[in-house]
């Protein structure tokens, strides 16, 4: 948008391109500096291991790199990734349906909103993973239990955000739907849901981050198949190079998910920011 308006006169265009080149130059410098910093960190790590400063079990960088290549070629890693992702996403999907429905319904009735306040505060600060030992006894250490724990943990941010979203709806909009006698279902779908969508999407973004944390935690603790279990197995078997490689890959995965969600939210809610301008 900005570059198009700047291209209107040739004089301006040339100046902006020169400025862009300068910006690109400094950007390249930043990238170089970042690579140097990461390389420096890895070299320090390697030196620390070789000279024996680092704790005895820390693996060498080259070993971790080799383990990384080994892992990427193995089927069990990809299967574990799929298991973790599917459990996390199924949990978030369930949490979204439940959270948005309850949140919007409760949020559009003021008295109900006040009545659930304490329950929401409690549920939000409850570490669901504390129920894990009990749930393992009741359901067993399997995929269904993992999905249940994830959805129990992920539902709260979505519920709270949907509730706030519904409460924020302008009185003009709600009065209009009433005076035009818009049927409840249509009101829910076309008025309540869109006006609460920016808040809901923030809730879902928080929920996805929580879901990965919880899914990996469940796998670490209960030996349910997935990435968390692979880490515990590698560590238990003394393969610290593998464990570090898994940790690195999980970090990359978490980072990718966060970046993707930020972009998706930006795209989905472009209309919302257009309104602000």
């Amino acid at each position: 948008m900005k570059s198009r308006t700047q291209q209107t006169s040739p004089e301006r265009g040339r100046r902006s391109s020169r400025r862009q080149a300068a910006a690109r130059g400094s950007k390249a410098a930043v990238v170089v500096r970042r690579i140097v910093a990461i390389a420096l960190l890895l070299v320090l790590w390697q030196v620390a291991v070789l000279t024996g400063i680092a704790p005895g079990l820390t693996p060498r960088v080259d070993r971790v790199a080799l383990a990384l290549i080994e892992i990427l070629g193995r089927a069990d890693f990809w299967l574990a990734l799929l298991q973790t992702v599917s459990a996390a996403l199924t949990g978030v999907a369930i949490a979204t349906v439940v959270g948005v429905t309850i949140g919007l319904l409760v949020g559009s009735i003021p008295a109900a909103g006040r009545a659930v306040g304490l329950i929401l505060d409690f549920g939000r600060s409850f570490p669901t993973i504390a129920l894990l030992p009990v749930l393992i006894l009741v359901i067993g250490a399997n995929w269904r239990m993992e999905v249940l724990v994830v959805s129990l943990a992920a539902v709260w941010p979505i519920l709270v955000q949907s509730l706030y979203g519904a409460q924020q709806m302008t009185s003009a909009a709600s009065e209009m739907t009433r005076s035009y006698r818009i049927p409840p279902l249509l009101k829910f779908r076309r008025v309540l849901l869109p006006s609460a969508l920016p808040m809901i999407s923030t809730g879902i973004r928080i929920a996805v981050a929580i879901s990965i944390l919880v899914a990996v935690g469940v796998e670490v603790l209960s030996q349910t198949p997935g990435l968390g279990r692979l880490i515990t197995l590698a560590q238990g078997g003394g393969r610290w190079d593998l464990a570090f490689a898994y940790l690195f890959l999980i970090g990359c995965f978490g980072w990718g998910v966060t970046a993707l969600l930020a972009r998706a939210e930006g795209r989905l809610l472009r209309w919302n920011r257009l309104g602000e301008k």
Binding site: R33, R34, A115, P127, V220, Q235, G236, G251
Partner: protein, 265 residues
């Protein structure tokens, strides 16, 4: 009268839910869901014998130690990075990477390397909590008004004074927001680390009870963790309101004024 009504309005649903749980579970035959009366009985008994109290103290001690380290380190690193743009740009991807590592994946590695005691747990909690605090502190330092910064420069305010009297207060709201993000992370990591390998703590109490098939004890522990999380979050709310009272007043003068005028009416 109005106050009583407002409290009732907020309390009736939780009370009804607990009552329903109490009544329904009273006659339930399931081994897995013991009656709430029995859970409470067990909790009171274990508190009186001092077992549960010791576990709670151990957990809370680890939590505060880890969070405290994370706050100090996070603020110092955050202010340094916020003040040096070049350094910040350089290490930015590293910080975002560490922030994105699911903290629960760290537990087996750190406990596996450092052993069972409370030091590895404190370290894990600190490592998990430090990233949101660093990121928020950086944001806070960067949002210091340029005018204030130039003034501090022009009057040659000494570095230490600049740090404690200019940077720290003006980025405090952001730092507090970072700690608010870190608090539930700390509780979750605390529980996970105690469920993974521990000799004391509420997580250990839950795990031990359920492996001995003492379901009432396990439920009591889980409820206690929930109460602990809730109490910490409420305490933090109180603390935040006190610490940042000046901020709310100065940033929202119209709201403050209208509040006082409406009170006068």
């Amino acid at each position: 009268m109005k106050v009583v009504l407002r409290i009732l309005e907020r309390l009736w649903l939780p009370v009804v839910l607990i009552a329903v749980w109490w009544v329904v579970s009273e006659n339930a035959k399931s081994v897995f869901f013991p009656p709430l009366s029995r859970i409470m009985e067990v909790m009171v008994k274990d508190f009186q014998s001092g077992v549960l109290g010791a576990h709670v103290m151990a957990s809370v001690g680890n939590l505060f130690a880890g969070l405290g380290i994370a706050i100090v380190v996070g603020i110092v690193v955050g202010i340094i990075l916020g003040e040096t743009p070049k350094l910040r740009e350089t290490v930015d991807p590293l910080i975002h990477f560490f922030r994105a590592v699911p903290q629960s994946a760290l537990v087996p590695l750190i406990i596996g390397a450092m052993g069972m005691g409370s030091a590895p747990k404190v370290f894990t909690i600190a490592f998990a909590c430090v990233w949101p605090i660093i990121l928020n502190t950086i944001d806070g330092v960067r949002s210091v008004e340029p005018g204030v910064r130039q003034m501090s420069l022009a009057y040659r305010v000494p570095a230490r004074l600049h740090f404690t009297r200019v940077l720290l207060p003006s980025s405090l709201p952001q730092i507090v927001a970072g700690v608010r993000v870190a608090l539930p992370i700390a509780v979750v990591v605390m529980v996970v680390s105690e469920l993974f390998a521990a000799e004391q703590g509420i997580g250990f109490y839950i795990l031990q009870s359920s492996s001995l098939f003492l379901l009432a004890q396990a439920w009591a522990g889980a409820i206690l963790v929930g109460v602990l999380g809730y109490a910490l979050s409420e305490l933090f709310n109180l603390f935040e309101r006190r610490l940042l009272a000046w901020h709310y007043r100065s940033n929202n003068p119209t709201a403050a004024r209208s509040a006082t005028t409406s009170k006068r009416k």
